[in-house]
């Protein structure tokens, strides 16, 4: 899994994102830091924001191609 593929999945899921960043933390294609700032998250508890991101990447998390996922999310208001 490369950062660009993750980015593509996330921007598809959060088309209105004000900020969307994916960093390959270790350069090995399996440890990622993702940051999503989107109006989709306005008024939603943090845990549900993270669930939305996890859901987008569910397949890669389940098959182990993403070994570690660090998530930072925020609404826009």
């Amino acid at each position: 899994m490369d950062a660009e593929s993750i980015r593509a999945l996330l921007s598809q899921a959060f088309p209105d994102a004000a900020e969307l960043a994916v960093e390959d933390r270790t350069g090995t294609g399996d440890h990622f830091q993702v940051t999503v700032v989107s109006p989709d998250f306005d008024g939603i508890p943090l845990i549900d924001q993270h669930r939305r991101v996890n859901d987008v990447l569910a397949a890669s998390l389940a098959d182990g191609s993403i070994h570690e996922l660090r998530i930072k999310t925020k609404g826009t208001t």
């Binding site: 943090l46 993270h50 996890n54 998390l61 660090r70 998530i71």
Partner: protein, 120 residues
């Protein structure tokens, strides 16, 4: 013997703060589990840790129960708080301490213990 699913559910429901992690607080095997533990310590939480590494089924069953794909997973009074990132964020914002105060009282004990699941 209780099923793995029953044992995991019991820990989640019965322990004030349950942490499913890689390794134990005495020997942490993952940076993210370490981050979650540090945040809980800083917030003055009691900790009941379950090591998910002895058997892959532990993690499978846990994720089925919680709907959360990654490790660690932190529960307060049966409710999933999140993983390491959320636990750290809630510590920084003061919400973690507030949640612990509300759920467990401010003069809570801060015992750290480990629960071993019975594997068939």
């Amino acid at each position: 013997m209780k099923t793995l699913n029953e044992q995991i559910s019991e820990v989640i429901q019965q322990e004030p703060v349950a942490v499913f992690m890689k390794g134990t607080p005495q020997m942490v095997m993952c940076g993210n589990s370490h981050r979650a533990l540090q945040a809980l310590h800083a917030a003055g939480a009691p900790i009941t840790a379950v090591d998910i590494l002895p058997d892959p089924r532990i993690r499978q069953e846990l994720s089925e129960i919680s709907g959360w794909p990654t490790i660690p997973q932190v529960f307060v009074k049966g409710e999933l708080i999140g993983g390491a990132d959320i636990t750290e964020e809630l510590l920084a914002s003061g919400e973690l301490q507030q949640k612990l105060d509300e759920s467990l009282g401010s003069d809570r004990d801060q015992e750290v213990k480990v629960v071993q699941l019975e594997l068939a």
